[in-house]
Every structure is written in structure tokens, then in C-alpha cells.
Amino acid sequence: MCYHNSITIDYKEGSFFMIIKNRNQFYPYLFILPAFVIFTVFFVYPCASSFYLSFTDWDGVAQVKNFIGFRNFISAFTNKDIFSVFPNTFYYAILNTLLINFFSFFLALALNRSSALTNILRVVYYVPIILSGIVVGFVFQQIFAPVFKVETMQMGALNGLLHLLGLDSLMHNWLGEKATAMNCVLLVSLWQYLGFHALIYFANMQSIPKDLYEAADIDGVKTFQKLRYITWPMLAPALTINLTLLTIGSLKVFDLMYSLTKGGPGGTTKVIGLAIYEQAFYLRKVGYGSALSVILAVIVFIITILLNIYLRKREVDS
């Protein structure tokens, strides 16, 4: 009551202070305030700060941040070492997005049945997503470890399994060979994120009207045709979400690469996220690392916008 009475100044119609005069209109703003503060402090401020630092030569330690214009950006586009990480980044992003989408769609189909087992499996497939990328990387490092001594079984779990199956010719230094390292990371990513993206498809499947399938059954439509002409088109919103999330996440990937390969062997799994970390934290070129982050953000933004324009159009067509 006191608070209400304290606002006595006659402000112009429609001004912020007029709005807060009315308690009912004031409360919604108050309730979004914590989220707004968190978003500003932990997202807006770091982003703005990173953008500002990208125009400086700051090393993370010096008290003075010298403004150097676009020099960091010019350096990024003319540095062949940095430029060489983009093919790796796009290779990973494209394959990761396609593979996870493909398998998660079929996993969602398999889970879209009501039985006690599927209820348990839905939880089991979701569990990997709650694990930290660093922990997952550590575990899979042991699994992919190379062969040291066959006779004493001193080798990683995967090679050990192949040996027990008599498939010694397939044993590899999985994370230490350029032909297999990136594909191993893709496999781990598939294992970790499959359940999460399947859940998005699954949620969308639950919302497809049952009468569509009943009508199809009456018309004698076969299972594959129902999948092709009912399920798949109706999953357009889930596809949009999954493709968008996976594209963004894959282009920004850091934790799995860092914990599994650290960009090796010989830079064959080095992606832009690792290059940014190396420049900003290891080499202490915070300004330069920030410029790379801004470039990555712009790339992700453009790709996401284009992807969404296409997918939204597809949703409408569906």
C-alpha cells in the first residue's frame, strides 16, 4: 500500500512510469526481471564484451586494451593456419547434423509405442545428454585406446572386442589415425545426442492426430507409405528444431574435440572452437580469439537464418 501511495508524480500517458502505476501491469515486468538480469549478465554482457575485445590487441593480462580496428579480422582471413580449420568444422557440422537427424528419427519411431520397455528405453537413451562432454570424452578415450600389447590384452575396449572376435585386421589407433579420428568423434557425438533429438521427434509424433492413420488404414495404405506421406510431413516442426539446434551446436563444438583428440592427430580434427580456445587462452591473444568468435557467430547466424527460411517454407508446404 505504501509503495503504491509513494508514486504520486503525474507522468505522461503511456510512459513506463504510468505503466508501473498500475500494479497489475507492473508485476509481469517484475517477474521477468530475474531472467532479464541473468540473461544480461551472463549472455548480453559477455557477447558485447567479446565484440568490443575483437577490435583490440588485448592479451588478457595488460591493463591497457589498444583499439586496432579490423586488424584482427583481416588477420583471421589472411592466416592460412586459421583458415585451414574451416573444412574440418564444416565436415563435422554437416555429418553430425545429418547422422544424428537420420538415426534419431528412426529411434523415435521405435520408441513411439506404448510398452513398459519403451518407457524405460526413452529414459535410457536420454541419459547420455546429461553427461558432461569432458566426461564422455574421457570414457571414450579409454574405449578407443590403441593396442599396446596383444598378448596381455593391453588395448582399448573396442580393439579388445575386435581381437576377441578374431577381427585383428580391423584394430586401429582410432583417435591417433587421421582416417578414423574425426569419425570416432562423430560416433561419440551420435551416442551422446541421439536420445535428445529422438525425444524431439518423439514429442512431435505424439501430436500427430491418430485419425490420419486410421483413415489411411481404412484406405489400405501400407506402413512405409504412412511413414512417407503422414509421419514425415507432420514432423516438419521437429525437423526444423533438430536441424537448427544441431547445426548451431556442431559448428560451435569444443568439449568433445578437446577431450577426445585436442585437434589431433596433426590438426585433422581441429575445429574453429579449438582454434579460438588456443588463440585466446593458450597464446593469450584474447582480442584475436574474440574476433574469431565473432566470425563464428556471424557464420552460425547466417547459416541458421538461411536454414530456417528454407525449413519454415517446407513446413508450410507440408
Binding site: P34, V61, A62, Q63, P265, G266, G267, Y282, L283
Partner: protein
């Protein structure tokens, strides 16, 4: 009433979020204002006369025995001696240490005294004016010449060097005896040992993970730095090149020849050095193991009591040229803008006393860099003393390299191992990078 309660909760959440930020910021401002308002001499005088209780913060990265020695003995005794000084300790892991240090610097929470690795890692902090000039401290004259050189930057002593770990080749004395070989005095003798071990089904060298860095480091002393202690400086000045025949020789031996001849394990990059390889060595399945002083405790813990550990420095091509890698491993620095300059310096001076340094070196198993201090460490290190007395020593391979060259080495090495590049090509790449950095600094 309910609405009031809800509003109060919301506001409380907002303020609690902002509270942390405000605290750090205020602290930062306070530091700046005070250090400007009060001259250093005034502060020292005030402390000496009044001896009001005060607190200094110590940030260090030592784990295990080093942590115990610093925290339970050195700091505890220091606080007894100076009963008005309280030392608050923070001990992040060495892996994240510099991120923590940089974060503290940028949030106004800088410790008054902090540990660091003299060499390239600290150059940014020296350049940024973070470390206090310690040139006038009395202990400077007690430092060995090498240690003094390692902590001097811009003509100033930037840190107190506290120990001198070594890297060497560990060997199984009994196995050498059984093979009928002795400690090698030349590279030809070293290869002879490898061949004899291999012929008996013994792995000559247990090398894994970053063991290649240990090998290159140990070999760089007799092949590069014993010939020219100022080699890095000469590359900086354009008077020497990195891609010379000597570097090519040691890189080729470690990355190509040893692998081809089966002296080191296949796929060694993905073998864990301190578990898989160390166990091979102590269990008598490998003859030699590239190690640092910090590995000795692990070797002793994993080996049987009757395991006979020996150490030798890497031999040169010619007999009698074995040189020891003895680096200035770690040091203590004082924050240049500390409000507690007197107490911070007192702590560093206390750490520099011969008794304290000896105690610390014995805890971490390192030699001392203070003249006249002989630490009683693992007897295996005695094997190295004759070489240290006879031939020059040098620190880690990359202590004087630009950070960018250091950072790219691992990736370039892997390129040789997976067959993407030759040794010549990676040395040329590293030389080009070094030149590029020097040229950019001139601009």
C-alpha cells in the same frame, strides 16, 4: 500480502545475483585507490611500527608433497614468525592455474604472492607489469647464474626461483647389468643398448603421450644448448636458424628413426606416459624411461623395493659430451600492485631462506637453485652430479621460444608421425613462425 511477498522474493533474487558482481568490483576499485593514495614507503613504515593484523593471499599450483610443504610447514611457520600476518591460500590445479590467475587479475582479486613457471609462460605477465621487481632483494646474489638468467626479464628479477627439476633418462640398473651394458657415453653406445634390449624382447624406451617432448628436451641440451647457450637469443636476432642440421638430427631420431627401429612403442602418442609406460619400466619390461624429477615419486611408488633406479643425461655424438637438463622449474612472484607489499616481500624473502628452500626442494624432489643448498632428494639424482660438475646445463627445450612456436610444436610433430609432413618441413614451418613473430614485434 501475497503480492508483496512475491515482489520481495523477486527483488531478493535480483539483488543476490548482482551482489557477487558488486563485491568483486568494489574490491578492484579499492585496490586501485589505495595504491595510488599511499606511497609504498609509507605503507611499509606503517606496518613496521603498528604491526596491525593483516592478510596476504597466496595462490599456488603445487600438488601432493609440494602442497603439504607449502601449506602445512612453510606458511604455518611463516605465520608463527610474523604473527600479525595471516596467509590465505588458494590451490587450483596446475592445468587450470593460469586461467585462474588471469581471471583473478581481471576481476580485481589478484593474490599478493603467486607461483609461476619462469620462462615463456610468464612473459605476458612480465610485459603487463603484473610482477613486482625483486632485483633489490638480498637473496638475488645467492641464486645460481642459470636461475638468475631464467627469472630475469627486461633487466629485472621478476620471480624468486624455488627449485630446479631435471629431466633425464631413467634406466633399470639390474637390467643394464644383465644386458652387459653400461651407461652410454655416446649416441652410438646408446643405440647399442637399444639393440641389445630389443634382441632380448625388451622394449628399449618406454615412451608414450608427450614423451617425445621429454626426449627432445633431454637431447636438446647436448646437441644444441651446450654448443651455444644463447641459441634462442640468436634466433631472435636473426643470427641463427631453427631449422639447422642439429635440430634436424634430434627431431629425426625421435620422430622417425626410433619408431622405424622399434625402440619405442607403435602409436606412442596415445599411450599414457605416467601409467602404461611407467608400469612397463618398473615391471622390467622396458629398459629406459624418459622422465622428469616429478616422476621419481611415481616410479618409487609403483616399483618393488629392490628396483634399482638409475639416471643418466643424454649423450652427444661424441664421448664425454653428456649434458644435464636442469631447469628453473617454478618460482614465486609478488603482485606489483599489492596493498601488502611489505608482507608479500617478507613471505618471498622467507621462502628464499636456505632452510625453507631446502625443505621445499626435498618435498618436491628437486635440486635447489640457491647456492650452498643441497637438498636430500632421491639418491638416483646423485648419478647426475658428476655430469653437472663437468658439463654445461640448460633448461627446458622451449623455455626461450615464442609461445606460438611452442604451441604449434605438438601439432607439427603429429604431422610427421602420421606421415603428413617431413621433419624438414615442420622445422621450416617453426622457423617461419618464429621469424614472423620477431618481425611482427619489430613493427
Amino acid at each position: 500480502m501475497k503480492k508483496m511477498l512475491a515482489m520481495t522474493v523477486v527483488l531478493a533474487v535480483c539483488f543476490s545475483i548482482l551482489a557477487g558482481c558488486g563485491k568483486v568490483e568494489n574490491k578492484g576499485n579499492e585496490t586501485t585507490v589505495k595504491s595510488n593514495d599511499q606511497t609504498e614507503s609509507q605503507k611499509v613504515e606503517t606496518t613496521a611500527v603498528k604491526q596491525e593484523p593483516l592478510t596476504i593471499k597466496l595462490l599456488h599450483f603445487w600438488p601432493g608433497n609440494g602442497k603439504d610443504a607449502v601449506e602445512k610447514t612453510i606458511v604455518a611457520d611463516f605465520m608463527k614468525k610474523y604473527d600479525y600476518i595471516t596467509v590465505e591460500i588458494e590451490n587450483p590445479s596446475v592445468a587450470s592455474y593460469y586461467e585462474v590467475l588471469t581471471t583473478k587479475l581481471n576481476t580485481g582479486d589478484m593474490p599478493d604472492v603467486f607461483s609461476g613457471h619462469p620462462g615463456g609462460t610468464m612473459f605476458t605477465y612480465y610485459d603487463g607489469g603484473v610482477t613486482m621487481d625483486l632485483s633489490d632483494r638480498s637473496w638475488v646474489n645467492d641464486l645460481t647464474d642459470g636461475a638468475k638468467r631464467d627469472v630475469t626479464y627486461g633487466g629485472k628479477i621478476q620471480m624468486l626461483p624455488v627449485n630446479s627439476p631435471t629431466m633425464a633418462m631413467a634406466y633399470n640398473k639390474k637390467m643394464f647389468s644383465d644386458l652387459g651394458v653400461k651407461v652410454p657415453d655416446s649416441y652410438a653406445e646408446f643405440i647399442d643398448i637399444c639393440d641389445k634390449a630389443k634382441a632380448k624382447g625388451i622394449l628399449p624406451m618406454a615412451m608414450g603421450g608427450d614423451g617425445w617432448l621429454y626426449a627432445l628436451s633431454i637431447m636438446s641440451v647436448p646437441y644444441i644448448y651446450a654448443k651455444d647457450i644463447d641459441f634462442d637469443q640468436k634466433v631472435n636476432e636473426g643470427k641463427a636458424v631453427f631449422n639447422n642440421d642439429d635440430w634436424k638430427k634430434i627431431f629425426t631420431r625421435v620422430l622417425v628413426e626410433w619408431q622405424q627401429k622399434g625402440y619405442i612403442p607403435k602409436d606412442h602418442l596415445k599411450m599414457d606416459r605416467t601409467t602404461t609406460m611407467l608400469n612397463e619400466f618398473v615391471s622390467g619390461k622396458a629398459a629406459m624411461f624418459f622422465m622428469g624429477a616429478w616422476d621419481v615419486a611415481g616410479i618409487r611408488a609403483a616399483a618393488d623395493k629392490d628396483f634399482q633406479l638409475g639416471l643418466f643425461p643424454f649423450p652427444s655424438d661424441n664421448a664425454g659430451g653428456s649434458c644435464v637438463l636442469a631447469a628453473t622449474g617454478e618460482g614465486l612472484a609478488a603482485y606489483a600492485k599489492t596493498e601488502q607489499k611489505d608482507a608479500a616481500l617478507k613471505f618471498i624473502d622467507y621462502f628464499a631462506t636456505k632452510e625453507v628452500d631446502k625443505l621445499f626442494c626435498e618435498a618436491v624432489g628437486s635440486m635447489s637453485v640457491i647456492k650452498g643448498v643441497v637438498a636430500n632428494i632421491d639418491p638416483a639424482f646423485n648419478d647426475l652430479i658428476p655430469y653437472i660438475e663437468k658439463n654445461p646445463t640448460h633448461g627446458f627445450i622451449n623455455s626461450g621460444w615464442p609461445a606460438e612456436v611452442n604451441a604449434m610444436m605438438g601439432e607439427e610433430i603429429e604431422k610427421v608421425i602420421i606421415g603428413d609432413k617431413t621433419v624438414d618441413q615442420i622445422l621450416q614451418t617453426m622457423q617461419d613462425k618464429w621469424r614472423e613473430i620477431i618481425d611482427s614485434k619489430k613493427k
